[in-house]
């Protein structure tokens, strides 16, 4: 069953086409990632799916409801976590959730049952009566995740859920996101420009300049690059090379006094290599292609990780000082 169906979606800002004819589907229970550099169209896409922006053309269904015609039904189907905190920092954690439950028409009985459940999930149950202003960035993000769950959404939307957090906290947030999938069987639709985080997704759509350039599982996407890279060091390089070429029928290169082999499936190839060879090997290194290699391969450029705009940094700075 598809939770999200997007067909030929287009959004323009004047001359700029922010989202240019994209189509994809998200299946129930999967973590689906939209990966791309800043300005690629990720936030525009998520805003259209969340009914915050009207598409110029195309169609999108969330939980079977049309984002243009059935906005309130779409909204009730979504749990949203934004890039910037959207908590009321003068209210307590529990009050923020209570407020949310009221706006999403959750009845009192369900709310009382649900409150400990979601707060315990993100380890904030003990802090439920604390004012949100006293929370750290990571705690706020966790509280937002809990808030998004209060009204039993069909899908969670996470727009750059770890942006602006330190690596330890980012890792921590991911533990909670994975817990959501495992314990609640929650469908998660997220955007990110952190390559290592995209690895957690079941499927990734790589987006660049408003277009989806590839869509597959992280493992399959990496296969697009070619293969794994194996680097060997040996006492006698030339002899080893001859032996590999003779016994395994492979082309081998020598670079920087090391032997380099490119193979499709490095994990399975290594045992075979050791089994066949008699020449002594001093060291071996197996490198998997990264998503950055994939992105480079598809678009001819790298995703820069730390390219937050000046405005964004300023905002974070202000948000922290408040």
């Amino acid at each position: 069953m598809n939770i999200i169906e997007v067909k030929n979606l287009i959004k323009k800002y004047g001359q700029l086409t922010a989202v240019n004819d994209i189509s994809f589907t998200v299946k129930k229970g999967e973590i689906f990632g939209l990966l791309g550099p800043n300005g690629a169209g990720k936030s525009t896409t998520i805003s259209m799916l969340a009914t915050l922006l009207a598409p110029d053309a195309g169609e999108a269904l969330v939980n079977g409801f049309n984002v243009s015609g059935q906005r309130n039904s779409v909204r009730k189907s979504l749990g949203l976590v934004f890039q910037d905190s959207s908590l009321d920092d003068k209210l307590t954690a529990a009050e923020n959730l209570y407020f949310h439950a009221d706006l999403y028409h959750v009845d009192k009985g369900s709310f009382r049952e649900r409150l400990p459940e979601v707060l315990k999930l993100v380890d904030l149950w003990d802090r439920r009566d604390n004012i949100v202003r006293t929370f750290s960035g990571g705690m706020k993000r966790r509280l937002e995740i809990a808030r998004g769950l209060i009204h039993y959404p069909a899908v969670m939307f996470l727009d750059e859920p770890t942006i602006g957090l330190d690596p330890q906290t980012r890792f921590n947030i991911w533990e909670y996101i994975l817990k959501l999938k495992q314990e609640k069987d929650m469908t998660i639709f997220m955007t990110t420009h952190y390559l290592n985080e995209a690895e957690y997704c079941d499927r990734i759509a790589i987006i660049d300049r408003g277009k989806i350039v590839a869509l597959d599982s992280p493992a399959n996407l990496k296969k697009l690059v070619g293969g794994d890279i194996i680097t060997l060091m040996a006492a006698n390089l030339e002899k080893l090379r001859q032996e590999i070429e003779a016994k395994l029928n492979l082309k081998v290169k020598i670079e920087d006094s090391k032997i380099k082999i490119e193979v499709a499936d490095g994990d399975k190839f290594l045992p075979k290599l050791f089994h066949e060879l008699e020449e002594k090997i001093l060291s071996v290194e197996l490198r998997k292609p990264t998503l950055d290699d994939v992105f480079l391969n598809l678009t001819g450029k790298k995703i820069r990780e730390e390219d937050a705009s000046a405005k964004e940094l300023m905002r974070r700075h202000i948000a922290m000082r408040r």
């Binding site: 979504l78 934004f82 959207s86 003068k90 209210l91 009221d102 028409h105």
Partner: protein, 259 residues
Amino acid sequence: MNELRAIYTIWKRENIRYVRDKARIFSTLLQPLMFLVIFGAGLGGTLTQSNFGIDFMKFMYPGIIAMNVMGIAFFSTVSTVWDREFGFLKEILVAPIARTSIVIGKILGAITVASTQALLLLVLAPFMGIQLHIIIIVKLFLFMMLLAFAISGMGLLIASLMKTTESFGIIMQVLIFPMFFLSGAFFPLTSVPLWMTILSRVNPLTYGVDAMRQIILNGLPAELAHKLFLFPIQINVIALLIFSVAMVSVATLAFNRRS
């Protein structure tokens, strides 16, 4: 039913936030006191000599209450800009509720907070030799709510037009202070130049000040009343209602623009 619940929720949030913000409560009580004491002491003496006809503090007191209502109602609604800047508005805007409910909830919140706090200022009345009884207090409370209604509509409209919090200072300088000074709170508007008469007539605060002054200073001799009061109370009610409806309608439209 769902929309009523949403309105109630947004109204409640305004109240909780207000009660928690002790510094704001304190400063909004301090400001009117400051005006009364400084202007009252500074100008009172001079005006007694020039046959003003009434104790200046007594004259100013209703105006100060009206200014207080306006300040709180305006700040409560214009604070929506902060909500936008720091993301909380998004939480409300993506909720499955009508934009109109958001507007109504905000305005009801502002009315509650502004008129309740202005009511606190009435404890000063006996110190100025002003007799209050229940009818006067009820009448005043109705006008406090009406004025808060008009001003919160204006605040919300400005908030939906303002893009960032930086423009807030400019709004205060070019709009709020002139509205204070041209409202008749500090001097009677019965013998001022034509330009000032015109400006004061488009200022909703003028009608609030005038009505509250007539309610508090009832029973003045006709000659003095003629010198200090502008319109019959009914005209003040109508003017405030027209201003309120116009502002709230335009604010709702501006707020409903999907962006």
